[in-house]
């Protein structure tokens, strides 16, 4: 798929790739097509050597406020195999995010419900507008946030993940910050400025260490800890022998900014 996206917009500047969910009149639902496009955009940004940070946001008043329930009812009319197949396709996007090897920052401009909540939890760091709200609303229509469960658990811990899944309750931005779903809350009008400044700072960190580190984090995650440490020791050797680490150490001693090459 080339850049002919229908439901998202992708921009690139200063080592930052910004992906914007772009169906503001429908509150940016995480539909099948959006999940596929988002997966494609995330994978391209991950492979692009010039991208250091990915910023995810939404156009309009909502970040991603859940499915259009009329469309949802039509979707439910598909055969079990169609639901299984299309579900697996959209699941790929959450898998990509879960094991992402570049910093993924959420700039949450408004309500994030259902799949949108999953996107927020998937981000490594989150800056939120004060007007945003967060909820896993699936339970209220008789569903459950299935696929995003591992992502929510990782972001919030098991008990909070279960509670929010069962109650479906709505959190304010400040409440979301108090449980660790959100890192920083800013006035709505300051959101993108603050998110970009934050992304630019993260973009100055070593890309090799970041990539290897995030790779190692995902791969060692469920290993028995002492075996994980052996695995991590070996990937550390890869980092030790990078040009970037030599440059980073030199730059520190010479009191200047490092010039990263990404290898």
């Amino acid at each position: 798929m080339q850049e002919g996206y229908k439901t998202i917009v992708v921009n690139f500047a200063n080592n930052i790739c910004t992906i914007q969910l772009n169906q503001p009149e429908r509150r940016n639902p995480l539909s099948q097509i959006t999940a596929v496009e988002l997966n494609d955009a995330l994978l391209r940004a991950e492979r692009n050597k010039d991208v250091r940070v990915v910023l995810l946001t939404g156009a309009g008043d909502a970040f991603s406020a859940g499915a259009d329930l009329r469309e949802f009812s039509r979707y439910m009319g598909n055969t079990p195999l169609q639901l299984y197949d299309s579900g697996r396709e959209s699941t790929e996007m959450f898998k990509t995010g879960y094991r992402y090897t570049k910093p993924l920052i959420g700039a949450i401009n408004g309500p994030a419900f259902a799949g949108g909540f999953g996107l927020v939890a998937m981000c490594h760091m989150v800056i939120s507008a004060d007007t945003a709200k967060f909820a896993m609303t699936e339970i209220k229509v008789g569903l459950f946030p299935f696929v995003i469960m591992p992502i929510i658990k990782r972001a919030l811990g098991e008990k909070r993940a279960l509670e929010l899944s069962i109650t479906g309750r709505v959190l304010t931005a400040e409440e979301a910050k108090s449980i660790g779903l959100v890192d920083e809350v800013v006035p709505r009008e300051d959101l993108m400025k603050r998110a970009r400044a934050f992304a630019e700072e993260i973009a100055t960190r070593g890309p090799v260490g970041t990539r290897l580190g995030l790779t190692a984090y995902y791969e060692s995650n469920f290993m028995e800890p002492t075996i994980a440490m052996d695995y991590l020791n070996s990937i550390r050797v890869v980092n030790f022998k990078s040009d970037d680490l030599a440059e980073g150490a030199r730059a520190f001693l010479e009191k200047r900014m490092p010039e990263w090459k990404g290898e």
Binding site: T79, Y84, V208, R211, I235, V238, N239, K241, E263
Partner: protein
């Protein structure tokens, strides 16, 4: 897609993917690996394909790593080697992501990465002349990335023996070890494998997909959880038209007409 080191043909509902660098004994270069990934993914996505056969043109199935690539390693930093390694490892992960049966027709030497490719396939039909081995230890490396696949094919102890001794297995030994499902005379290999693949391609594609998914997903699951997971896949199958059609056809003593839903 235009392929340089791979040749793709179709016979009925069987896609035949041939490693096509016989002058280099089908060595697994970076280019061949990337073309194989494309060809396998294309076959998996094509509704006109019910099964895939992987084989080699010429006398060799696949001789493993292209030693030319090894000598170019010296100029690369460790992070670059690591990243390129992750990309080429994708080939060995492609097998278990297939939703259609992937059968290797091993026509000759399957060494190192070539042995890994055979082990990755769902079934292996070996020519009497086939040889399977992981002799890497003799040149100073170990069959690292493919090791889990070899273990799954022959069991841990036999896999370790293959890796540390480096002695290849002939077709009969491969059959006995579980790496090959069947051995055929060299002249009958490709036709025999395509015939098997055609039979598999005539099964319900829905059931194949669910079943292959079941196989791949439960591999390391605790057994009770595996059964519970498989129960959910069974619900999808229970609700399919293909199961109703299959049951009716059986009772009416006729061939089923699958719809894949």
């Amino acid at each position: 897609m235009e392929y340089e080191q791979v040749a793709v043909e179709q016979q009925g509902r069987v896609r035949v993917i041939c490693m096509n660098r016989p002058e280099k004994r089908n060595a697994l270069s970076e280019k061949m690996a990337s073309e194989l990934i494309s060809a396998l993914r294309e076959a998996d996505a094509d509704p006109g394909v019910g099964a895939v056969v992987l084989t080699g043109k010429g006398d060799s199935f696949c001789a493993g790593a292209d030693l030319g690539d090894f000598s170019r390693m010296a100029s690369k930093t460790a992070p670059v080697m690591h990243q390129e390694g992750i990309e080429s490892t994708e080939l060995f992960k492609t097998g278990y992501k297939m939703t259609k049966p992937l059968i290797a027709a091993v026509n000759g030497h399957a060494m190192g990465g070539g042995c890994g490719l055979a082990a990755m396939c769902h079934m292996v039909i070996a020519s009497e002349k086939a040889k399977f081995g992981t002799p890497e230890i003799k040149v100073g490396i170990f069959p690292f990335v493919i090791f889990p696949l070899i273990i799954r094919a022959v069991g841990p102890r036999r896999a370790l023996e293959m890796a540390i001794v480096g002695q290849p297995l002939g077709a009969a030994e491969a059959l006995e070890a579980g790496l090959a499902n069947k051995v055929l005379p060299a002249g009958e290999l490709l036709d025999g494998t395509i015939k098997l693949a055609s039979d598999l391609a005539s099964r319900s594609p829905l059931v194949m997909k669910l079943g292959l998914n079941a196989y791949n997903t439960i591999m390391d699951m605790e057994v009770n959880k595996a059964m519970d997971y498989l129960n959910t896949l069974r619900v999808i199958d229970f609700m399919s038209e293909d199961l109703k059609e299959g049951a009716s056809a059986f009772i009416q003593k006729r061939a089923p007409e699958w719809k894949g839903r």
